[in-house]
Structures are given as C-alpha cells and as structure tokens.
Symmetry: C2
Subunit: 262 residues, 2 copies
DNA sequence: AAGCAATGGTTCTCTGTCATACCTTATGCC
DNA sequence: GGCATAAGGTATGACAGAGAACCATTGCTT
C-alpha cells in the first residue's frame, strides 16, 4: 500500500514566491515582509553563518582565541555537538585551529590568500542582493551616527575616540578590521541593541563584498578623513552633520562597490 | 551510577551575559552584537511570533482569511503540524477561528476588548526594550523615507498616494491599521527588502505598545498632517525634507509612548 | 612530582519537528 | 443529486538536535 495513489498534500502550489494573486483586498506585497522563513537553514547553517560573521568582522583577530565551545554554544543556544560541527567546517577550511588542554581553545588562523578559483567569489557575490545591502547599510549607519550625536555619554566619547585612533595607526592589512570596529562602536553607542545587531550582520556581508575588490590607498585616505569628520560631528553633538557626513562616507563605498561589481 | 558525581559540563559559567571580562585585547561589547541566539525559541515560538506579527500589523484584517495552512507552512518553512500548533494557540486565545470545507480556512476574529487583567499588559511591555524599539524605528523610518524620495518609480508613486488616501478615509478603529500600512508601503518602496522586513518586525512591536495607550483624536489629526507632509516631500523627490519630516513624525509617537509608559 | 582546572573530544538518550499520507467536511458546479 | 475541489483534521515513521555525562589532554600551581 501507500503507492502512487492520491498524493494529496505537498503540492508545489504553483509558485511559492507570491502569497496572494491580486485579490484586490489583501495586498500582495506586504505579506512577503512578514511571511519569510522562520529559519534560514538547518540551524547548523545559521550557527555557521554567525561564527563566520565573528571572523569576517574581525571581532576575533587572527591568532586570538574564540570563546570556549561551551560558552559559544550557550550564547548561540545550540548544543555543543552542533557547534562542534560548525567548528569542524572552519577547521577544514583552515580558518581556525583547535588545541586541547587548559589554555587551549579554538584559535583564528591568518587568512590564507583567497584560494578560491575566481568562480567561488562571484558565486558568493551573486547570492547577495548588493543594492539591498548598500541601502540598508547607509540607513543604519546614518541613523546610528545621528543617535550617537544626540545622546553620547562621557564613556562613549572615550570609546569613540579610541576606535578612531586605532584606525589611524592601523597597518594596511589591519585597516578593514579597525574600520569595521569603528563603525561597530558607533552602532553600539546608538543606544539600540537591535540596530547594533543588524549593523553587525549587514557589515559582515559588506566585508565579504569588499574582500572582492582591491584596497586602494587613495580611497583609504579619503575614508579616513570622512571618519574624522563623522566623529567630530558626533563629538560636537551635531546630529544633522553626523548623519550627513556618514551618508557621504557610505556613498563613497557604495559607488566603489557598484563600480567594481557592475 | 550517573549520580551526583562530577557534574562536568553545563555549568552556569558565572554569568552568561558577558563574554569576556576586560581582557584588554578583545573588546567585550562588540561580541554580544553577533553572539546572539541563533533561534529565538523552539521554532514553534518563532513561527507564532511571525503569525502574531501578521495580525498585529493588520496585514490580514478582522474577518479576512489567512493563507491556507499548507501555504503558510511553506512560506514559514515549518511543517504543517507545527503550524497547526501555532494556530491552535491563537484559536484558544480567540484571535482566529478555523472553518472546514472548501472556502473554509482560518479567519481573523475582531479584537476582543483586552481581556488582560492589567498585569498581562505590563508584563508584555516590560519584556520589550522600549527605547531600543523607538530608536530603531526612527532610524528605519527616516532612512526609508529618504530612500523613497531618491528613487521613486511611477508605480511606487501610485501605491504611496493610495496608501495615504486610505488613511484619510479610515474610521477610528481602523486607523492604526491604515497607518501601519502606509508606513509599511514606504518601507517597501525603499528598495531594500531587509529594511522592509526589519520595519515590519519593529512595527509589530510598536503596535503592541500602542495598544496599551489611548488613541486621541487630536494626536491622530496631527499625525495625519505629518503623513501628508512626508508623502509630499517624497513625491517632490526631496530626501532631506522627507527624512526630517519623518523624524519629526516618529518623535511625536515616541514622546507619547514615553509619556504613557514612564 | 602531584594535583587541579579548563579546555577539546566522544557517546548516549530523548524530545521536537518534518515529511507524507490519509480522512473529513463544506461548497460550487454540472 | 452527485461529483470535484479546497480547505481543515489526524496519524506515523524517520531524523536532526538538545542535554547530559563522560573521557583525554594540557599547563599552571603547589
């Protein structure tokens, strides 16, 4: 029994992209904003994505140790077994290395110079909605800069200055990391945890895109001037200026990326 | 065996909130932006949250039918069994009603006048970081308005006008819904799917908060003027004005909420 | 040298979820 | 009236993942 009788359920349902036709009452568009998959992958994939974020953002620089498996799995709310599968993948990719014993742990390895045979990179980029990323990024950055300028504490002031200084002293191969850290600091000082978290996600995507294009010293210097201007505006408690400068700064990166990926 | 011997794993780890102490090298803050739970709940809870969004946003108004169980489960990427558990909860809460047979389905019931014994409401609000919500909302709204003003298509123009008109004709009990729809339209026209999705989420939270305070006609009229001003700025392709007006508009709601929830 | 503590490595069981198939009910159309 | 259809309702087998307990390795402390 249970042969090819009436396969009742689980039909393709024409196309799974659009919920309603044009029924005239319930709008077809808005539903898609909410009715998106509850989970982006098998849970293991999602954890992998987050640990990758950690590396792409440079929050744990090469040579440093990740939090222990027990800590990480608790933070990510996945079992240690699943987390270890994630780490296994990263080990196979030569991105991290695990050492046992006390004071052991999982350590970040320096980036091996892009072994991807060109095809892999383009495939990753194709999977990203570049326009979405750039626009969303600009919105978050400008908003964060504005919020910072409105309610910056003395402690925040210190952190911001520190982050800016760090970008100045950074060597070329460390610049992207310090740049990321500066922007991440701004996002955190915005006073919205959600904003910070979302920025972290979009920035990880952005860094992945940026890895595909050359880092020009000229752009870097320009970028650095803009950083200074943004921070200055924030320290002056001038939200409008901060937002405006940040938008300009983001526009630069966006133009660069659009140019290279066109 | 397996008694109270050495309970090796699964220790409380002092406190699960902060990853690193003040180790001096790896910053303690930024890690938290990324190391957040992979899944907010047991997957069933997350689905429940999304269906609740659907209702709170008024995307499916009272009396209307939700997408069929098969469709919904496919969109949310959960099994029909799990989805039915979600719907079961909503049925028990008298929020939806299921009817069998062809042209049956799950229908949204009109809101039963807040049966919560006051305690429930406060508990829900306490679970929300109000400041986070308000700030993040303002950032997204202002950003969306700006992006809209920059690249509005003819079709978008029509949708925007339509949404604004709908708010004008709305009766008092339907106003919140039309208001939400207008803002959601703006978010979608921003050209960033991520922005739209995030706005939907934050707006659902906001609506939940707004349900706790009275709807004053005076505020409503003021709100309506601001809506018109924002839309006008967008139609004039004036991003700065659009952003500025939207920020003002959001500021009004924020002040109202802060006042009532103080 | 011995012991302790923190880490990665392994194995087990049990629950939640998925996929699939099938049943039941109501409606419109012929 | 009968049938096709679309919806909700139900049952079951397989599997991924969580949780807990354990083992193995290392380096610091005594």
């Amino acid at each position: 029994m249970a042969t090819s009788g009436r396969a009742d359920d689980t039909r393709p349902a024409a196309r799974a992209g659009e919920a309603e036709g044009g029924a005239g009452d319930t709008a077809p568009g808005p539903l898609d904003s909410v009715l998106r998959p509850v989970r982006a992958g098998n849970g293991f994939e999602e954890a992998l994505e987050q640990v990758l974020q950690l590396l792409r953002l440079g929050l744990v620089p090469p040579g440093e140790r990740l939090p222990s498996e027990r800590e990480l799995s608790q933070h990510l709310r996945i079992s240690r077994v699943t987390l270890r599968e994630v780490l296994k993948v990263l080990q196979d990719q030569n991105m991290v290395e695990s050492r046992r014993g006390r004071y052991g742990g999982t350590f970040v390895l320096p980036r091996t110079a892009a072994p991807d045979g060109d095809g892999e990179l383009r495939r990753r980029i194709a999977a990203v909605d570049v326009e979405d990323t750039l626009r969303f990024r600009e919105v978050l950055e400008a908003g964060a800069a504005g919020l910072c300028a409105e309610g910056l504490t003395a402690e925040g002031e210190g952190r911001l200055r520190g982050a800016l200084d760090a970008t100045r002293g950074a060597r070329l191969e460390d610049y992207r990391r310090q740049d990321t850290l500066l922007h991440l600091t701004l996002a955190e000082l915005s006073g919205s945890r959600t904003l910070a978290a979302q920025y972290a996600a979009v920035r990880a995507t952005l860094n992945e895109l940026l890895d595909g294009i050359p880092l020009l010293v000229r752009n870097l210097e320009h970028s650095q001037q803009q950083h200074a201007a943004v921070v200055e505006a924030v320290l002056d408690r001038d939200p409008d200026a901060a937002r405006e400068m940040m938008r300009e700064h983001c526009g630069g990166t966006a133009a660069l990326l659009r140019g290279f990926l066109a």
